[in-house]
Amino acid sequence: MNIEIELFGQLLPRTQRRQTLSVKRPLLVREVANIIGLKPEEVGLITIDGVQSEMEDTVELGCRLCFFPHMSGG
């Protein structure tokens, strides 16, 4: 099964914005970040299927996971 990942803003600028990660079990957001080489301190906001989440939340198989940089409401 897959986890769909999208990176926003200046996160990992030389990396594909959209990636598909093939995994055998659900992962923590922190584990996914580690796999793609993203430092947690660079992440300002996370969503799993559009629901705001945290590094210790679980990403179920088939989910869409988005990482955003630190941002400020406009």
């Binding site: 926003f8 803003g9 705001q52 945290e54």
Partner: protein, 580 residues
Amino acid sequence: MLIFQANGAMMKLLRVNMKQLQVEWDQVPTVYEQLGGRALIARLLLEEVPPTCDALGPHNKLIFTPGLLGGAGVTTAGRLSVGSKSPLTGGVKETNAGGTTGDALGKLGIKAVVIEGQAEQGTLYLLHIGNDSAEILPAGELRGLGTYATSDRLQEQLGADCTVISIGQAGEFLMLGAGIATTGERDQRSNHAARGGLGAVMGSKGLKAIVIDKPVRKTVPFADADLFRTASRAYAQKLINDPKLGTQGSQHLYGTASIVGAVNEMGSLPTRNFGSGSFEQSTDLRGEHMREVILAREGKIGTRCMPGCVIACRNQYVDEAGMPIVGTLQYETIALVGSNLGIGNLDDVARLNYMCNDFGLDTIETGAALGVAIEAGLVQFGDTEGIISLLKQVGEGTVLGRVIGNGAVTAGRVFGIRRVPAALGQAMPGYDPRSLKGNGVTYATSPQGADHTAGNAFGARKEVNPLGIEGQKELSLKLQIIAAMLDSTGLCLFARPPVIADPQLMVDMLNGIYGWGWNKDDLDRFYRDVLRNELEFNRRAGITSADYRIPEYMREEPLAPHNTVFDVPDAELDAVFETL
């Protein structure tokens, strides 16, 4: 025309009587001495304006005031607050803008310019403020001009380095969606104190523009320059070091549009008259895309709305030939005039943005009103040319244009549409409250009406789940108090992290300027008093809790993609200020 020479270094109030066409320099009354920006507006309205007066009548007053840090050279602290009783909400209104005005007024020692009375109907004037003088001049030749042409013409006549505050056609027509434009450095035109219909108040006074000469050899006197300098430098350095705001931060790189992707992903991006929380073309509206387009076309990124701002989140959006369309393209406009109208093209959003700026219209109110008009079937969502034809009518003052120019609530009533995204008569900004419920609490309780700058909960997940109810009331109050601080000191909304983390920085900057000997408790009382005074004005104006409520349909119609409604109970809303 009467010309009055000011003197002395003391802060002063400039009172402008539009009925008598006279100006008067007043000493600052004791009750206003320790106030500025939004705090001064709240207190002055409470002291001097009958709360039940006609907002477009002679008894209302229009106030222009820098924050307490204005003119002192603090980075990001040069915002101009404009205040009045709002014709849109019927209550207190403070709306602020960047540009050079706040800095200029602060340097000139002007605590506030207070516009009183009304000129004879059909007449139009401008107020010219020099370094030590002020005069009212006829301005009939400016009638019918947009804000760009007005500021161009006045800078040609009175000096390219003067600051111009102006209204466009919308303000002249007394439209409730009218805002007030201010210029900035060099050719910068489009800073807007947009919200609450205060452009209509300015129009009702018969005042087309205010011109302020560039201050020459004018500086803010410091009670303790070392204390001030140390604190203001530390503050600037903390902003630069902030991961959101520094030169590698998203605010600088992508501007306020940096959040388009996130708000869309969270299902809170107003789409087709707040009919959905996500937009299928949002990728083309993102800040990341905007940056690529602007750089490819050799436009400008990372420019400033205020001199010396270290965040520099502004841009100049250009067309394919590299010609400027509008500067700056911002998140709220992209949301309300883009996705909310079914438009997924930044070029189209920029064109509509320019038109709103030139007519002197709030893009939030106008975008919401156009969304309502589209739902009524006047044109189709995504039909840019049809939408432009509607917007043109606002500038022309046709009957249909006046309906739209008077904002979302008026448009809903005239067109028979019940889905009107507004609270306290004012259109909601770019966060649907059904999936960002903290903002819903702010919309439904703030004395400013539906206004994200009054307490924006976006990004506060670590404290409160945006889709849940628990903790929203406490979060909103905390954010509303912070917003009162920012708006009273002249700080930009984005400059809050250092002073939230270390309030002593603000205490030291204020004590360094004024020598008040404040401590953090004094500062906290000061912020809270802003909200207390505003709530009291609104109470005296006859506004009740029912007037603040989120529209009923948002409590009943689930919003895709999370299929949530706004379900924070009224009792929770009514309890927000219990601990103020």
